[in-house]
Assembly symmetry: C2
DNA sequence: GTCTATATTCTGATAGAC
DNA sequence: GTCTATCAGAATATAGAC
């Protein structure tokens, strides 16, 4: 029986994501992931046959969580735009961690990770466009979200960015509040 | 005498950037860089004592080219905003390649690369702010640029994005033309 | 300045005991 | 399901010839 963090399989995926976020793909060796998950290398490889398989597992879980997030966004009390911008900054949630981990891998020219992120982005865009009824505005807001996300995950964070963006979007009448 | 591409040292840096852009940090081994530069491993290590040293060389060259780019932006005929947005999309220039290469490394939690990118971003922001006289607008446009850049370098490219952004920035009176 | 050969460490993966 | 032991290949770096 595992010490904590639920079933071993999920604990391994959690550890994989954690290491990807904190140290990038080079740090995310099978050895390191196994150590973080408090399991042996052999134990890890029982659940995931290879490193490739580990990535597939991570991306599958991301896709499932992503579908939930899109629903939350569509029904957010403050409106989809504000929800989208808020969640473009890392709040430390499990979903944020999964997203950042996938981006790290995508940046290594991994097509599977890129496709997973692209699918999510498409879903977010549709919600923005349906809500705003304006393609250009929806696309621009998505780019701002991508920018916030990129800055945040590259360590270029500027905590005042979000209020500046809200300021500008008010002028455009793009915020619900 | 080198076969082509100028002095060996620069040819090695070019090769390092090329491989980082096309395959990420995992592909950019000393072996691969040496092969791309048509030099032996030992030959490469004569010019750069270690892989760390190779990265330092790359970032130093980026900083020098960055200073030139900021001047170009300040004096761009169509205005700094349009110049900034245009150059946020990979045009295939040497500078773009250097920039994308640095971002790949920064995504591996490499502080040196992050610092180099942050310095450039700060310089670009000052040009935008001076030109627009509006902190919120300048910050927002910078985020849009970051978004364009992130999408482009992650393979999420949407070629219509730029015209959508121009459309929205016109409403805000942020474009010179 | 550039090469080849070699040492060393790291990484992914397998085999088989428990 | 989980462990230890082990291997094959890759990666960084050094030494010394040319």
């Amino acid at each position: 029986m595992p010490a904590d963090g639920g079933p071993t399989r999920d604990r391994i995926l959690d550890s994989f994501e954690k290491i990807l976020v904190s140290g990038g793909t080079r740090s995310a060796t099978i050895d390191a992931v196994a150590a973080e998950a408090a399991v042996s290398k052999g134990g890890l490889l029982y659940h995931f046959r290879s490193k490739d398989d580990l990535l597939d597992g991570m991306l599958a879980r991301l896709a499932a969580r992503g579908a939930e997030d899109v629903e939350k966004m569509r029904n957010a009390p403050g409106g989809p735009v504000d929800y989208y911008l808020e969640t473009s900054i890392d709040s430390g949630s499990d979903f944020d961690r999964a997203l950042i981990a996938a981006a790290r891998v995508a940046y290594e020219s991994e097509e599977r990770a890129t496709r997973a992120l692209a699918a999510l982005r498409d879903a977010w865009f549709l919600v923005l466009r349906d809500h705003l009824g304006d393609d250009s505005l929806a696309r621009t807001i998505q780019l701002i979200g991508d920018g916030l996300y990129f800055d945040d995950t590259t360590g270029l964070t500027d905590k005042t960015s979000l209020s500046h963006v809200r300021n500008v979007l008010k002028r455009l009448g793009a915020l619900d509040s």
